[in-house]
Each structure stands twice: as structure tokens, then as C-alpha cells.
Symmetry: C2
Subunit: 321 residues, 2 copies
């Protein structure tokens, strides 16, 4: 490989969208001019080869795109405008070529163009075994308007901005079938390989000016509901029959259905709560919601109503250990 | 291990120093209120087990402290005040205990208290083989005052803010002797295990209001001089006999001397250029400098003057590949 400095410089043109970047790649650190009246939002997410992806489950471009997308999804969940990103990548001494790393960056570039976001720096190191990509993003939200998970109140409705269970279904196929399952038209495969962060919803929620709690569904609807319930000091009730396209998963055992739909994770739409009036207003703002439950007084619990019975969802969803 | 959320929450108290943190750990991303009149500086550095450290070469606390220190050094090189940091850590499925990871964080906490810096978020994932720690820092510098490496001009002096070669000498001993070499009093061992970022100098340079180019010496004096020379479109001349304590390394072969002193890296003081008048003023401001050379008209080359001969230093210093 070329030396790091030359190499990062060679991939950086075409990532410059913001005139506020005073100095990006090429000095000790990046300098970005901040605007008064805004809060800065920062997030980091890391993807590890053989844990979060393999060359069998993900095209190279999709690996890069997703490493950025999962971070943009964190910005979306705060209602922030995506602005800048920094990439730290640990490249194994064998098994990966410079061209392959370039493909990963080109996948990031695709999503960076969409929002648009500037690549303002990074660090490239070597590692013995597996590829590790860590992306840090920053974004901007109007002062005091970030969407916090602590804003839920009894009487709110619980909503989703997209379908869940899709990414789990896609991963299941990819683990069984490998590259044979790659299919740009299959919505399950695409949900795992090319998730779309719901920035449009996050921004729409902030622009509505209403009280709205939100999380992205990265760790599954059960876990994310639990975070909202705990942070807000309320109970959350999920109604099984209201989950979008719940029938689509009817071929699975009951246990497997709940695992994929409620704990599968990686769907990267938003889950949140708002008053019934606000939910109706959001629909009018062209932000369609799936209403899947409600918020009641309580102490941080999540309930599942299914087939006329109600049970507590313990332990949340997917955790990283 | 506990689940990630509880665990990060359990280590986060005691990291909260800044009232500008609206929401840190515990939501999808961090929200930090920005001040008008300042530029934001961001940097990331990654440390990989068996590449940048081993349990034999570094105490656990020192691993954490250094992972943060090398980033703070990037802020120092821009003249920024350190503010916040985010930690992404990939923990191997075996070989590391939760207590050991706690020790790493406690090492970060030591340095975070000094500046002070808030831990505002993070991501913890699992990995099959070796530990990977990636730290992102942000800091603040007065608008348009960041110290850039492109500010050098012919007639400037080249300076160091500390001694070089120490970290390379320490690493050499640690690789040969392992834990037996651990010694809190040995300046070489300490230079490798517990580098002190030169924030005092960076801030002093900015506060002087003068034109000053700066880099931290993370990749060795030869490489960092080359970056300044190229970014500024000048040549830089290093005078061997002026290097601080150059005699201390006289027991080595000439080749080894140049390797440790000029290409060893990881010393984490600053290297920079300023006019002779500015250098004198900095000394008066209680910022003592080692003057080690000069800047002349040129095209991005670095020269070494040694024993009456002058040769070009090619290829810079240590690179990560």
C-alpha cells in the first residue's frame, strides 16, 4: 500500500461539500466552523469483519455505505442534519487489497453525496486479523431541539417510521446462502446490506416543533422501546397485531417471529412516541407512521400484547455481547 | 459482561466536566452546545493490540491513557482546548476481562481529569482476535487561529517543544525485556507508556497571536518536517548537532541514531516553525524551545545537516503500513 497520508489524500477529493470546513484531511486534525444557534451531535459506530459483516454477506461498497449509514441513522434519531465524518480503519496485513479498501470508501462516498457529508479526517492502522471500520459522524440540530429518548409521556402513541424484521430476515438468508443470495431487488437482502437512514423523518420531527421521543431501531424494537421507557420513566405497550406486515413472518415459529421482528435489530428506521394529535399532524406533513402501541404511566417496562394476552418483554433486544 | 448500555453508563460518571453537554452517554448520539467565535477541531486515532501495544509493553491504565493522549496531542498541534471524547472499543471474545477494560477506561479518566474532557459517547463491539481502541476527540480554538502546517515561511526557525528519540528507546527496551522494564522513573519507558500531550504549548502559540506552523511528532521529526515543508511549499533544514541530547544516542550506530531520533515517532511533543523574533517571544512567554534548524525557499524537501554534510531525508518517517 502507499503511505497513509498519500492514500487518504487520494481518496478524499469528491468528499468536500461544506464551505465551513477550514481544514479537513491533511493537518493534525480537522477544523470546522460552527454556527451559532445550533447544537452539535456526534456519534460513533464500529463494524468488525466476521462479527458485523463478511465478504460473503456484503458487497464491498455496501460495507462502506453501511458503516456510514448506521452512524447517519444515529443523527436521524436526534433530528440532526448530517455534516461531517471521520473514518478510522484497521486493515489486516493480508487478505485485503488497497483496491478493496477503495471500494469500501466508494460505498461511503455514495451515501456522503446524498446528504451531503464531508470526509474530514481519519486514521489508518494495520491489524493482524480482521478488518475494523469505525466511523464518527457529526451533525447539527437547532438549539434545544434534539429528539431525546426521555421525552415520552403517558397518553403518547408508539410509532415506527418503517418496517422491522426485514434486516434479520435478510441476514438469515445471507448466512445460509452467501453470495448466491445477493439481490438488489430483494427487500430483505437490501434491508441488511443497504439500510437507508431515516433522516427525512428526524428532520421532519424537529421541524414540526412538537415534543417527540425517538430512537433508531438499530438494536431491535424491544430494546429501543425499553430505552425510551427507562429514560422517560414510563411503560410502553407494543401491540403485536399492529406491527407492519406482521403476517409476512407467520411462517416462522412464534418464538422466531418475536426474535426477528422485535429483537432482530439493524432495521434503521426510527421508533418513537408522540401525542395522538402530533402523530396526526406528522401524517399531514407527509411523514407516514405505523402506530404500534402506546405509552402509559409506569416505571421503564415494555409490554407485549399478543393474542389477547399481555406479557413483559424482559431484557430488551440484541446487545453487543 | 453486562450489556453495553449498562456498562458504558457504569463507567461514565466522573467524566462530566462541561455544562455545554446537553446529552452525553445514553441517547443515540451526544449533543454539545457550541460557542460562537470558535472553530471546532476533531481528530481520531486508533490503537490495535499486538500492533501498537501488548500487555507486555504497556500497563492497562497506560493503554487507556495513551489512546486518549495521542488524540489530545493532535488537538495540541492545532492549538485547541480539549473538550470531549468518544471511545469505540472492539473487545475480543476471550483473553480480556471486564475488569481489564475498566482499567483501560480508568487510565483515560486520569488524563480526562487533567484537561478536563468529557466522555460523551461510544460504541462497544465484540471482535474475534485482538483489542482495538479508537478514540475521537473534539476541541475548540479561537476562530481562524488554528495552527496549520501550511504556515511555514523561508527565514523561519525550526523548533521542537521537547526531546525526541525517547519513545523509540523505551519501546526498544520494552520489546526486549517486557514487564521487567516497566519503571515509573525511567524517562524512556515513560515516553513510550505515558506520553504527555503538549497542550500548554499549543495554547501558548495560539495566545501569542503569531504566525506559527505546528505538527505533533507522532510519526517522527523527519516525517512531520516533510508535512510542514510540503504543505507550506518550502524546504526545511534539520541540523543534527542541535537535536536535544543528541549525544545520549551516540552509543548507537549512525543509522540507528537517525532511526530513533528522526523516525522513531510517538514522542508527542510539537515540531514547528516561526520567525526568529516569534521564537524569542515564545521563550519570554515561558514556552522554551529547542531550535533545531531553519526554513528556506524550496519545494517540500527536508535536509539533514550532519558532520558538515547535507543530505536529503527521503520518504519521511514512520508510516502505518
Amino acid at each position: 500500500m502507499k503511505n497513509e497520508f498519500e492514500w487518504i489524500r487520494s481518496i478524499s477529493p469528491g468528499f468536500h461539500y461544506h464551505k465551513e470546513v477550514i481544514t479537513g484531511i491533511g493537518d493534525d486534525a480537522a477544523v470546522v466552523r460552527e454556527k451559532a444557534g445550533y447544537d452539535t451531535v456526534l456519534a460513533v459506530d464500529t463494524m468488525v469483519e466476521d462479527v458485523h459483516f463478511t465478504k460473503e454477506t456484503m458487497p464491498l461498497k455496501a460495507i462502506g455505505r453501511k458503516a456510514l449509514a448506521v452512524n447517519v441513522s444515529d443523527l436521524a434519531a436526534m433530528g440532526a442534519v448530517p455534516l461531517y465524518f471521520i473514518v478510522s480503519i484497521a486493515v489486516p496485513k493480508s487478505g485485503w487489497t488497497q483496491e478493496e479498501i477503495g471500494e469500501i470508501y466508494s460505498g461511503m462516498k455514495g451515501l456522503a453525496e446524498k446528504y451531503p457529508m464531508d470526509l474530514i479526517g481519519g486514521d489508518t492502522v494495520s491489524i493482524k486479523e480482521k478488518l475494523v471500520i469505525s466511523v464518527t459522524v457529526t451533525g447539527r440540530v437547532e438549539k434545544d431541539r434534539a429528539l431525546l429518548r426521555s421525552s415520552a409521556e403517558p397518553g403518547d402513541l408508539l410509532f415506527l417510521t418503517g418496517k422491522i424484521g426485514y434486516a434479520a430476515a435478510g441476514l438469515d438468508r445471507l448466512l445460509k446462502e452467501g453470495k448466491q443470495a445477493w439481490d438488489d431487488e430483494d427487500p430483505f437482502i437490501q434491508a441488511h446490506q443497504s439500510p437507508d437512514p431515516h433522516v427525512k423523518y428526524g428532520r421532519g420531527f424537529v421541524e414540526s416543533g412538537k415534543r417527540i421521543a425517538a430512537n433508531d431501531v438499530s438494536d431491535g424494537a424491544a430494546h429501543e422501546s425499553k430505552e425510551i421507557a427507562e429514560a422517560s420513566g414510563v411503560d410502553v405497550n407494543i401491540e403485536w397485531e399492529k406491527l407492519p406486515e406482521v403476517d409476512r413472518f407467520a411462517f416462522l415459529s412464534d418464538e422466531k417471529q418475536e426474535e426477528w421482528l422485535l429483537r432482530g435489530g439493524e432495521d434503521f428506521c426510527l421508533i418513537g412516541t408522540a401525542s395522538p394529535k402530533t402523530c396526526a399532524e406528522l401524517e399531514e406533513r407527509n411523514l407516514p407512521l405505523y402506530i404500534i402501541g402506546s405509552v402509559e404511566e409506569g416505571k421503564g417496562r415494555v409490554w407485549l400484547e399478543r393474542s389477547g394476552r399481555r406479557s413483559e418483554l424482559l431484557g430488551g433486544g440484541y446487545t453487543h455481547f
